[in-house]
Symmetry: C2
Subunit: 110 residues, 2 copies
Amino acid sequence: MGVTKTEAFSAIDNRIARYAKALAHPARIAILKLLIKRQACICGDIVHELPLSQSTVSQHLRELKKARLIRGDIEGASVCYCIDAAEWAKASALTRAFFEVQPGAAAKCC
Amino acid sequence: MGVTKTEAFSAIDNRIARYAKALAHPARIAILKLLIKRQACICGDIVHELPLSQSTVSQHLRELKKARLIRGDIEGASVCYCIDAAEWAKASALTRAFFEVQPGAAAKCC
DNA sequence: GAAAATTATCGTAATATTGCGATGAATAAG
DNA sequence: CTTATTCATCGCAATATTACGATAATTTTC
């Protein structure tokens, strides 16, 4: 149904999935990398760096905002985006914890 | 268009996005956790552990297989699934590298 | 104030995702 | 051989995603 049975899964699992969903598109990976690289925030420069239309980039930024990974501060006529450090740390920690469980134990199948 | 401009982004960004997409659903997080927890692989036990129908679980397993994060070995009438250790390590490393760039520098906005 | 620049949002189109029941294919059990 | 078990796949319905152009809302510049 294109609709996820959110309530059927744990809060942690939903949260990891939420972060993963935000990263599930190369454009959003590229945007986040840009925001990190320039440290200070960027506005519509992102549009010029990506091979996508302005409206599409805006939509991706909105997705990232929805996942709380970035913030956008209005700066005159333009908007300044940046990584939300707290949420970023949370996403990083949860994802790492998820991947780090039993690093080698997964090797053998049946 | 529901279609991603894959060719417009770097191989690394596409790869991270591919892994993230596989993790972008709580059911798949739960499945992976199960596979890790039981070390050895499982088959349709997954269906009994999740509040989803057999066909839906099968579809999620297929997604995970598409991302190469798991493998499925036929074991008589049933199928044994397990984490693909090599790919798992790659996903872990790429994701970690992505998150670890400039841990604190993202704090300040404009 | 009028024109230009910067973003967000709306509308549309194409495709993807999520979920389920039903059906198939394969092996195991009787 | 027939029947049950196990799993994948098909078909369907509802919704979501990706992308773009057009438009609207701000703000700056002239």
